[in-house]
Amino acid sequence: MDTDDITLLRSTMERTVDDLPPLPDLAPLAVREGRGRRLRARIAIVTTAFGAVTAGALGLTLLPGSNPEVTLPAAVPSSPGATASASTGPSASTTYAPVTIEETPGVTPPDNPDGLPEAERERRAAHQQRVAALLDELLPPTVTEIRPVKDKVHVYRIASGGETFRMTVSVRPSDESRLKPCVDEPVRGFRCEEVTFDGNRRAHLISMAVNSQETSGSYLDFRYGDSRVLLSVDPENVSAPVTPRQLLAVAEDPRFLDQVRYADENPVETKAPPAIEGG
């Protein structure tokens, strides 16, 4: 390509970008996202320096809940439907198609198995897509892919180390206003640690052997408003690639809590049936 060709290429590029509309003001959103990045970086440094146990104690002092600024509404940066003005849950005008996959590869599920109106399906899919975008940002980099599962609003498939895992992010209306006792039974492969975040919100970090004693899943359980919130990653051939504390790091993010609040106020799942007391 000679100079004339390069000049023409530049001219073509100029004309191409001239068609772009002006952006909304991204600065406030960038500040919020940047604050979260700083916070997580600090926590990561603390974790590296002092080890997991000490970091747990120190990390709690750095949680977003202790920072009054994090109560600001925040948008999901990588969500296709997010705009500068859409600061919390999905807006009614969100119509983008979510990235979805079938729960079982190769098995086409029935379309709209719950018989939901189209608008409700779209609303749930938008919520799921926003959660997926947040997970993409907030889970550790070893998780290389996050995909919402079609028509399963709380289910995602994540990939790490060449394996795929089932992850859930459930915000389900529940009559249970309290967490159950945190019982730690390491002999049976069941570890439970109670922590607080977001001010004084209690949560259980659970690591549990599933399928075998060698493979464990990670779980985070807490209450928000009238809902029970559960984040989980089940093991496959190997243990879950995300620890309970890494799930907590997701839940600590103010944008994630905004999305939880949205789902609590505008449920995307049906109410859990009453628990059956054990005999």
Partner: protein
Amino acid sequence: MAVPTEVRPGSPAAGRDDVRHGPPVDVSAGAADGGFEEFARAGQQRLYRTAYLLCGDAETARDLTQTTLAKLYQHWRRAGAADHPHAYAKKVLTRTFLAERRRGLRDLLALTRTGGMRPAPAADHADLRVTLLAALAELPPRARAMVVLRYWDDQSVASVAALLRCSEATVKSQCSRSLARLRVRLGDTGLATTGS
């Protein structure tokens, strides 16, 4: 993704960026967060334009721009104190783009929005945009970044090589090959001779 730790003073990218896209922004007050929002507001559109040429999709470009700004905020002490913050921002943008391409998620999201990596066909004068974006989309991400940085951002070969952590010879050969492909693609549609 690691954020660059330095911007070479007087880099061609920095200087030309300001010349090509608007006046420089005073970020001298940026000891901590000061000046960031002004910088972001003044620079977001030019970052967005570069992101658009890299991504070929407006929504993805917007996401990339916002992620870049967030990373700049995260390291604003260093970024704001750089001699050429806009060049620093461009470096963060490009490396973020390449990192995300490696992860593949942006591609996935773009696919759902556009029905494919190539922009949807359009009519009239938009043909020009569509053809260029489609031609760029056919290039591998690193080659695309080289073309955009070299010919849109007007950066020197040395600057592009430093940014992409490769040799100058690689930049030259990749750009040469990419331009040949673009010439064929654009020439096929007659744009190279009709553009003005």
